[in-house]
């Protein structure tokens, strides 16, 4: 199946990705080809097959609820693109 530029733009919005006009065009073409390829999965009858999200039978793993030191604020903030004091700085969320 083929994707329209409009659909690709919507997916880009969901993914929080800014695409240039040229990227949008290439992406529409390439994603259409990839989606057409993966459409072959529809040939396989999977009635009654349990989806397998993980190679291991994963169960919840609990640990003792014990206090332990965590990353110091200065180290946690060391990679922040912008900060003010002990806070990450971001554009205003609310007016």
């Amino acid at each position: 199946m083929s994707l329209t530029a409009q659909e690709v733009q919507w997916v880009a919005h969901l993914a929080r990705l800014q695409l240039t006009e040229a990227e949008l065009e290439t992406m529409t073409r390439q994603l259409s080809a990839i989606v057409a390829y993966v459409d072959q999965l529809k040939q396989v009858n999977t009635d009654g097959v349990e989806p397998m999200a993980h190679a291991l039978a994963i169960h919840n793993v609990f640990r003792e609820d014990e206090a332990a030191p965590s990353l110091p604020a200065a180290e946690a903030l060391a990679n922040a693109p912008q900060r003010r004091g002990d806070f990450y700085r971001v554009p205003a969320v609310l007016d």
């Binding site: 993914a15 800014q18 695409l19 990227e23 999965l41 999977t46 999200a53 291991l56 060391a78 693109p81």
Partner: protein, 495 residues
Amino acid sequence: MLERTVTELSALLACREISAETLTHEFLQAIRQRDPQVRAFLHVDESGALEQARRVDVRRQRGEPLGPLAGVPVAIKDNLCVRGQPTTCASKMLQTYRPPYDAHVISRLRQADAVLIGRTNMDEFAMGSSTENSAFQITRNPWDLERIPGGSSGGSAAAVAAGEVPLALGSDTGGSIRQPAALCGIVGLKPSYGRVSRFGLVAFASSLDQIGPLSRDVTGAALLLDAIAGHDPRDSTSVNRPVPACRQTVEQPVRPLTLGIAREHFEAGLDAEVEQSVREALKVYESLGAKIAEIKLPHSKYAIAAYYLVATAEASSNLARYDGVHFGHRSTEHQDLIDMYCRSRGEGFGAEVKRRIMLGTYALSSGYKDAYYLKALKIRRLIHDDFAQAFTRCDAIVGPTSPTPAFKIGERITDPLAMYLADIYTISANLAGLPGISIPCGFTKTGLPIGLQILAAPFEEEKLLRIARLFERATDWHTRRPKLAELPGIHEPGR
């Protein structure tokens, strides 16, 4: 010294024939001379490596007990966190990132007294099969500098093949250790899912990612696996079960031995020279007493389609963390918060990463999730069941690692689907959680290496390595070395 195996180097270090400092100097010199052509390294930690080596020497002098990799240089793929060191994932997004902690495997290497010599190039966020998706530089195959080294652990594979380092760590989500190992003529092992902790591995697809060793020989891979394997409470998917001492048992042949071959591994798309080498390898095994059994993997033809839905869905979720707030690239121009996210991600990610985030987002989006993501998970179950069935009839499955030898730089970069097909034989092991190894099994007429892939049932690394070593001991493919000019070059990392 550069041509010796890890076992030989360890023996020379142990009897003080050579100091760790001298050995590290030799490999640093090799990097300076060879890496300007190969460009496997993104960052070389000269002073740090020499300091670690000197510490090992002092402790040896004092007669202190030392770890199993004492004084042996190891290169680290650039998606494994090393405290305070650049860890870029070959992405502009993480160009300035310095992790505040060590990955579990790094802590284990430090405990083993290995020397961490530098960071290797990769496809951005481990997404690719040629290392061409690095934001910083193109790594070249040491056997032919016009060709790709494979990927995504192409820097690690090329560095080992070029004799710039005896051992390296890579990560394998769909073949990213085994395929570059095959294309560079070395040994690469993907452990069973859960065997090695992923704590500190920058996540691509969490249900598929696994860290593993690259080495010149099987014994070196066993030694490095032993050093990194085992339970870690910080990764809830790392399995709490006894770790075999693979290095101790690797010389023991497996008898009786039944090897499975699947017709699906020898169909259209397989290069004739690769097929010939693999069939000759099977004859070697037969001459060593192995029985060959035909097995069926009927759903393997759907593996690439299922993989690219599962892996991209997980990637779209994992990479949502790059929002320009906590770490990573932030766009300088933006109107509001959402615009800041979109611009930061648009500027920070390369083309393949964007493509995969988009495909994964699409596969998970409302109205498409059942048709794509859930369908792929069902196919994953069928692929897993095919293997479970096959392993009731054989000890391991043997076939080609990659359908072709190394292709030319630029040849597939504009055609994502053609690139994805490079992983056709390796991807299923990740979907099913199996351990898999690639070992050298021949060369094309033009001198390009060919890899043999061996897959075993989950957590049978020990048997897998013994089967691989059986072949290695009977052949000399792993002793061949590429001819590289020794340049008096000065290393210039890509950033």
